[in-house]
Structure formats: structure tokens, C-alpha cells
């Protein structure tokens, strides 16, 4: 089970005070689906406004990035730049 953490309060409307969950997902798509199942609405929030850092590598707008059972997954705001 991958450990999913949220450092910001961006997910609070969906997760309340929960900031860490264990999720069984093999890629970002499965992760989003499972997050949305547990916290309705969170899937869309993650998909539209957030990036997913998997083992320290920031991934944005991608379903296919693999997640390992022992991966560290962090939900963070999406990043752009100048």
C-alpha cells in the first residue's frame, strides 16, 4: 500500500483533518479513482489543480505514472513557472 500524504490544506474540504492515507494503486489513475471513492470530489480536485509527487518526482496531468506498493505519494499544488 502506498502512503499518500497531503502537506497543504487544499484537500481539507474533502478529507477534513486527515492528512495521510494508505492506498493500493498501481498508477496515478487508480490513485485518483480510489481517492475519489473514499473522499467524493477529491478525485477532481487532484486531477484539476494538483500534482502528484511519487517518490520525490513531481508528476502533473498524467494518469500513467506508475506507483509502487512502497511508494511515497504526496499531493501538492500544481506547479507552473515563468
Amino acid at each position: 500500500m502506498a502512503r499518500v500524504t497531503v502537506a497543504s490544506q487544499m484537500c481539507r474540504p474533502f478529507m477534513g483533518t486527515v492528512t495521510e492515507v494508505e492506498i493500493d494503486a498501481s498508477n496515478v489513475r487508480a490513485l485518483i479513482r480510489e481517492l475519489d471513492r473514499r473522499y467524493p470530489g477529491l478525485g477532481n480536485q487532484v486531477e484539476e489543480s494538483m500534482a502528484v509527487a511519487i517518490d520525490g518526482v513531481i508528476c502533473q496531468d498524467t494518469y500513467l505514472e506508475p506507483i509502487n506498493p512502497d511508494s511515497e505519494v504526496c499531493l501538492i499544488p500544481k506547479i507552473a513557472g515563468g
Partner: protein, 763 residues
């Protein structure tokens, strides 16, 4: 595949060839935004608000329309009224309704310079005359310019429907605070009890403009069939296409955008300003319309970056371990929500291995132009504060500031305050490089009488991004190569694209031509920004060149009638792989290209990807300066920029990014600011009064490129454009403190401010 191993011999990557677009640019032939013209075009101009905040009661365009030579006059009513819709654009989350209202005001003007109407006429002077004939009746409203003023409960409210997000309970009263955001690691409040020393201070930075030398410009032709062509300079031809389609209610397929050369952007050209207006004018007049901004319009009407107010508190033990940190960032968004508050909070402590941190902030609207991205958006503002505070901590602990940073430095395995565990980072390497640099080890030298000298250093972080990118490699009939990139080349990326393709194909880079494609000649690419092009588009180009290389081997195999696996590619030629493959003379690309019709047709590689894993960038800068006690004027004497760049494809252009970013930061530190009158009008909308650094202000900018390769890129590239603007403000402020004993906590450290601070310190 990747080319990272020690046994991989790189022949092109890492060298310094002349850029493919260079000659055109030194002979004055390269076509930038305002250089382009089409037959029959007319000229558009924008009427801008003279008020910081006013309700538009009426607009009468009849006199302007009656003027001889005027072909079209538009107001917001000529564009669709777009409903509120959140989207991720430019430097962060935004809203297409706001983008539309920023392009042309509908009911209210929200800043001095806000577009209100536009005219197209047969000459620029007639268009200007027509602007004077438009009657706009305003009801002037109270305005608010300063970020902290805008946050006060009794401040004039810009948007009646703006309620602060991210607070509990959900507010019922409209506010200028669009959003509150917070990141938390551990428990900072109780961790301060472990600290022997605590520094706490408030900082302020002024909003600054990207100040690219080329003003915004475009030519737009809207045809009777509803199809439009746009020629413009921007940071993304696909960005212009998407935004124009959205703002005009057009189909994306009906717009074709041709990227012209871009005369600097730094984030400021990641949005549209003129293009939607030119489209509406062209549609209304039936003529191609050219529009260019004056410099004054660039300052008043296009996005600067956010200024901010920052409160920092940091505590450390006697031996220099930082045990707790807190930071509050109030960031200006300009007239519409969308300051880079997220990155402003995520970056300033990313250099350090900390266990108890809380950082929170606010996205705040006020009566200023809507901010646009500017190099590492958000990070320079908050990092100025935290890196100044770290310096102050070093002083109180009587420690070398570089040693203090080394003790606390983030390494692989450090958990960042915003969540992830960092990996493949080269921050310590930048500190070690600083420590052993000639600059750090040279004496500061004695100040002349009446002057004071000091040295300071600071560090900074930027994530870098990847994203959607397309690249193509074409083998021409004669065996030469054309590479097409989906990204406008803003600082030499055509050179790096061509070099990566040449490396893969084993060719001389001179035989590879790289061009930037229009929106129909290459696959979609996200804009040029976020330090992503050499990383992400470079990855796409590399893959497309690999496809070509593999196909060339296949074609050679066909010609030799041997299996494809029995062909190997070396130094631009196909060879039989070993004795068993048979004996054949090597085939050049030209040989294979000459037979391509017979072996299956044109040889082409195309890659469209969504690149992930842009390696994070860390920078450490050292600054020596001298302050004139009498005038408060500061001279930068020596400056060194050190950065982990992953791998420098073309080291000269990488150094150029470091030098340019550092100097923009020096300008931010010492001179640049928006000055407003009491009634909210911008008072320094020109290069005479908004003074960016000039050649005589500066020394040579020394650079040290640290290369900790990014394993996610075939050549190890990390983004390089943004990290260099993060450390300079604190590096200069820390040197200033070292020189004068005075901690300057407000930017810019302009001569009058320095003079006043020296006076205050002398009591």
C-alpha cells in the same frame, strides 16, 4: 535510452556551437512581433483606464466610429461574456472570465491602464485620434494598492463575489483575500522551545516588471470563413491559440498561430493581451490588424510580478541546527486572483532539512495590473525574507553563513515542507562549490574612504517543470536534418534542440537546422516557461531523433538485405555490426536518404510526450558590494552564481541564464519598483524612471555550473532558467548588512532607502 553513463562519450552535448538562428539576429533580419506585416493591414490601439478603480457607467464610441479612416471600434460587448471557470493557466490556477475581463474591462476598471476599448484604423495616428474621441463615463471608486491595506476588513473591495477560499468556516462577506494556503511539517509552535536563538522580522518586496525589451505585438487576420491567423511573439503559440479560442468563442482548429521571434518574456508573455482584441477588431473590420504596445502600455497594462509582505521566524540551537521555522506570505495578485502563492510557500525552505515548519500565505487582489509569471514565480519574494533571516541567524550564532547552510542543507532523502522526499538534488554541491570558489576565498578588499564594503551569500530553490511537448526530426532528401520544436526559442533553445538531435544521430551540429513550428506544423506543446523546454521538449526531440536513427538502421538493413539488428549506428553512418553481419561499406544519412523512396518512403521521427520528473534546481549566489555612505548608492563589485544544472547542453547559454537571472535579481534588490500616486496611478511607466540594471552598473557575473544529472532526462538536464533569480535579493541584502551593519528588510534597497537606513542606524 539515456546518455548518462561515464562510458558514454558525448561529442556535441557540452560544446559551444554557434546557434542556428544567430546570424539572422546579428544582421537585423530576424522578425520579431512588431517586424511582421501583411498586405492591407490596418492598425489597432487600446484605450486604457486613467483610474485605479471605477465603475464604467457608459461608453460612447460614435464619434470615434465617424472619424475618417476608422474601420472598427470594440468594447467588451464585442467579446463573449464568459462565465466563471477555473483553469490552470500561466503561472497557476486562474479563471477564463477573469482573463477576459483583464483583456478588456466590462463593468468596472480595476487598475490604471486597464483596457476599456480598442480601435482599428488605416494608420496608427488615426487610431490614436479615435481613442481620444471615445467618451467613457466613470464613477470613480476608492482604490487600494498596498497588499496589507487590501487585506484590512474596511478596504475597498474589488470583487463583490470574491470570498476567501481555504478558511473555515466559509466566509459570507466578500474580501480582497482570494485564498489562504498553508503547509505544515511537524509542530513548529512547540519546536521553538528547543531553540537557543530565534530571529523574527518582517520583510517587504516591491512588485517588479519582467521588463523584456520587446513590447507585446501581433498581427491578426480573421477571414470571412471564420478562420484566423495570428503572427505574434509569445511564450507559446499553442497558448495564444487556446486562450484566443476561449476568449473569442472560436474553435481551436479555426486559429493558426505563427510564432515570431520573441524579444524576451521571462514569464510575462505567458498570457494574451493584444491578440484577442486584434482578433475582435479584425473580425469587425474585415481587415488584418496589427497591434503593438508602447513601453508605457507594457508597464501599465501587462503583468508585473507580485510584491509581498513576509513575516519570518526561525529558531536554531547553539550549534546551528535550525529547529523551527514559521513564515507568513501576503502576495499581491493584482486586479484578479492568481498570485503564485503556492510556489511562494513551497520554495523558501526547500533548501533545508527541517522537521518543524509552518508556512502559510494569502493571495490578495488590489488595484494593480494582474500579475503574470516572472522567473520562478513566488519564490524570490518569500526566499528574500527567509534567506535574509538565515543570514541574521548566522550572525547571532556567530557562524559562517555558508557553514550554517551546510549544517542544515537538504539532501537526497530530506522531506520537503511541501511533502515529497527530495531526490537527485545538488544543493550541497552548490554550497561546496561556493566554499571552494575563488570568490569566497578572495579577500573582500578595503573600501575607499566614505564607502563600506560587504560580502553576502544566499541560496534558492525552484522545482522546474516538464509537461506536454512535441518535437520532430525530418531527414531531408539530401541527408540534411530539420528539427522542429513546438516551443518558442527565448534564449537559445534551438541550439540545444539541434545539439541533442545531432548527438543522437552522430552528426555535426552544423548539418542540423532547428526551427520553431507553427500550431499546424508540430504537435501541441505547453508554453515556453517553467524552465521546461530543454528538459521536456529536448526529451521529445531526442526521442524523435532516436526514431530517425533506428529507422536509418532499418533502411540500411534493407539495402544490405541483412536483419536490422545487424546494423549499428556510429558517427552519423550505418555500419554492419561485427563480422557476421557481412562486409559492407558504411552508409551515410545522405546515402540512405537518397534511397528512401525505394525503401519505404520519407524518414521522419515525431514524438509527443508528457514529460515528468523535471529535476529540481538549486542555486547559491555570492555578492560583494560597496555602499556610498553619503549617497546611499550601492555598487556590486563581484558576483558569482552557482547552480546545479543537471547537465549543460550548451554551457554558454546555461551560463547566460544564470547571469541574466542574477542581474534581474540585482535590479529587483537595488532599484526596481512600481511607484504609485495617491490616486492609484502608476507614476514610473518608462525605462527612465523604472530603472533596470545597465552595463555600467555591473561587474562580470561569474558562474559555476554544478552537474548532478537528472536521471529522468536522456542527457541529465534540469531546468536552469528560474533558480538564478531566487537568491540575489537576499545575497545583496546580506552583503549590505555585512557592509553597513544595517539589515535592509524592504526592497528595493534604493539609494534614498539605504541613506535613510544608515541615518536611522547612526541614531
Amino acid at each position: 535510452m539515456n546518455y548518462l553513463g561515464k562510458d558514454v562519450e558525448l561529442k556535441v552535448v557540452g560544446t559551444r556551437p554557434i546557434r542556428p538562428d544567430g546570424v539572422e539576429k546579428v544582421i537585423g533580419r530576424a522578425a520579431f512581433g512588431a517586424d511582421f506585416r501583411v498586405a492591407g493591414m490596418i492598425h489597432g490601439k487600446v484605450l486604457r483606464s486613467p483610474h485605479a478603480h471605477a465603475r464604467i457607467k457608459s461608453i460612447d464610441t460614435s464619434k470615434a466610429e465617424a472619424l475618417k479612416g476608422v474601420r472598427a471600434v470594440i468594447t467588451a460587448n464585442d467579446l463573449p461574456n464568459i462565465p466563471s471557470e477555473e483553469a490552470f493557466v500561466g503561472e497557476g490556477p486562474a479563471n477564463f472570465r477573469d482573463m477576459s475581463l483583464n483583456t478588456i474591462a466590462r463593468d468596472k476598471v480595476l487598475y490604471d491602464g486597464h483596457a476599456v476599448a480598442a480601435v482599428a484604423a488605416t494608420s496608427p495616428s488615426i487610431a490614436e485620434e479615435a481613442l481620444r474621441l471615445i467618451d467613457v463615463e466613470y464613477e470613480v471608486l476608492p482604490n487600494v494598492i498596498d497588499v496589507e491595506e487590501a487585506m484590512k476588513p474596511d478596504a475597498p473591495i474589488l470583487h463583490d463575489d470574491l470570498f476567501t477560499q481555504g478558511v473555515d468556516p466559509k466566509p459570507t462577506k466578500a474580501s480582497n483575500i482570494a485564498k489562504r494556503m498553508e503547509f505544515k511539517l511537524g509542530d513548529s509552535a512547540s519546536a521553538f522551545s528547543k531553540a537557543d536563538v530565534i530571529v523574527e522580522r518582517k520583510y517587504k518586496t516591491a512588485p517588479v516588471h519582467q521588463a523584456y525589451i520587446e513590447p507585446h505585438a501581433c498581427v491578426v487576420s480573421y477571414g470571412a470563413d471564420g478562420q484566423a491567423q495570428i503572427w505574434c511573439s509569445s511564450q507559446g503559440q499553442f497558448m495564444v491559440r487556446a486562450y484566443c479560442a476561449k476568449l473569442l468563442g472560436m474553435d481551436i482548429a479555426d486559429i493558426r498561430v505563427f510564432p515570431l521571434e520573441i524579444g524576451g518574456g521571462f514569464g510575462g508573455k505567458t498570457l494574451v493581451y493584444l491578440e484577442p482584441l486584434a482578433l475582435a477588431l479584425s473580425r469587425k473590420s474585415g481587415k488584418p490588424v496589427k497591434m503593438t504596445m508602447s513601453r508605457e502600455e507594457v508597464f501599465r497594462g501587462s503583468g508585473p510580478t507580485s510584491g509581498g509582505a513576509i513575516n519570518v521566524k526561525i529558531g536554531a540551537t547553539k550549534n546551528g541546527r535550525i529547529v523551527a521555522a514559521e513564515c507568513e506570505v501576503m502576495l499581491q495578485a493584482g486586479a484578479f486572483p492568481g498570485s503564485p502563492i503556492g510556489p511562494a510557500l513551497m520554495t523558501p525552505f526547500a533548501m533545508y532539512d527541517l522537521s518543524d515548519v509552518t508556512i502559510w500565505g494569502y493571495d490578495v487582489v488590489s488595484n494593480r495590473p494582474k500579475v503574470a509569471a516572472y522567473r520562478a514565480p513566488g519564490a524570490p519574494v518569500s526566499t528574500f525574507a527567509t534567506e535574509s533571516a538565515v543570514d541574521e541567524l548566522a550572525k547571532q550564532l556567530d557562524m559562517d553563513p555558508l557553514e550554517l547552510r551546510l549544517i542544515n542543507a537538504a539532501k537526497d532523502g530530506t522531506k520537503a515542507v511541501y511533502g515529497p522526499t527530495l531526490k537527485d538534488i545538488g544543493f550541497v554541491e552548490t554550497l561546496e562549490a561556493a566554499k571552494s570558489s575563488s570568490h569566497w576565498n578572495s579577500p573582500l578588499g578595503d573600501a575607499a574612504p566614505g564607502k563600506r564594503r560587504g560580502r553576502g551569500m544566499a541560496s534558492g530553490f525552484w522545482f522546474n517543470i516538464g509537461g506536454e511537448s512535441s518535437g520532430a526530426t525530418y531527414v531531408n532528401e539530401d541527408g540534411t536534418i530539420t528539427v522542429v520544436s513546438g516551443n518558442p526559442d527565448i534564449g537559445g533553445s534551438r541550439a540545444s534542440m539541434g545539439m541533442m538531435a545531432a548527438e543522437v544521430l552522430g552528426m555535426d551540429v552544423k548539418d542540423v537546422r532547428t526551427v520553431v513550428g507553427d500550431t499546424t506544423s508540430v504537435g501541441f506543446s505547453f508554453l515556453t516557461g517553467g524552465s521546461r523546454v530543454t528538459f521536456a521538449t529536448g526529451m521529445a526531440v531526442t526521442q524523435s531523433a532516436e526514431m530517425v536513427r533506428d529507422e536509418l538502421c532499418k533502411r540500411a538493413a534493407l539495402l544490405w538485405e541483412i536483419p536490422a539488428e545487424a546494423v549499428e549506428w556510429k558517427d552519423g553512418k550505418a555500419y554492419p555490426a561485427g563480422e557476421n553481419a557481412g562486409k559492407f561499406d558504411p552508409l551515410t544519412i545522405a546515402d540512405i536518404a537518397g534511397k528512401s523512396a525505394r525503401t519505404g518512403g520519407p524518414i521522419t521521427g515525431k514524438a509527443s510526450i508528457n514529460a515528468q520528473g523535471a529535476g529540481p534546481g538549486y542555486a547559491t549566489h555570492i555578492c560583494d558590494l560597496e555602499v556610498d555612505e553619503e549617497t546611499g548608492h550601492t555598487t556590486v563589485l563581484r558576483y558569482t552564481a552557482i547552480q546545479d544544472v543537471g547537465k549543460a547542453i550548451h554551457p554558454s547559454y546555461v551560463e547566460g541564464q544564470l547571469q541574466g537571472g542574477a542581474v534581474q535579481g540585482i535590479g529587483w534588490a537595488l532599484n526596481e519598483e512600481y511607484v504609485y500616486t495617491k490616486d492609484g496611478r502608476l507614476d514610473n511607466a518608462g525605462f527612465l524612471d523604472y530603472r533596470i540594471p545597465v552595463a555600467s552598473d555591473l561587474p562580470m557575473i561569474e558562474t559555476i555550473l554544478v552537474e548532478v544529472p537528472n536521471p529522468r532526462h536522456p542527457f541529465g538536464v534540469k531546468g536552469v532558467g528560474e533558480p538564478p533569480i531566487v537568491p540575489p535579493m537576499a545575497a545583496v541584502a546580506n552583503a549590505m548588512e555585512n557592509a553597513t551593519g544595517v539589515r535592509m528588510s524592504s526592497l528595493p534597497m534604493s539609494p534614498p532607502r539605504v541613506r535613510a537606513a544608515l541615518d536611522a542606524s547612526e541614531g
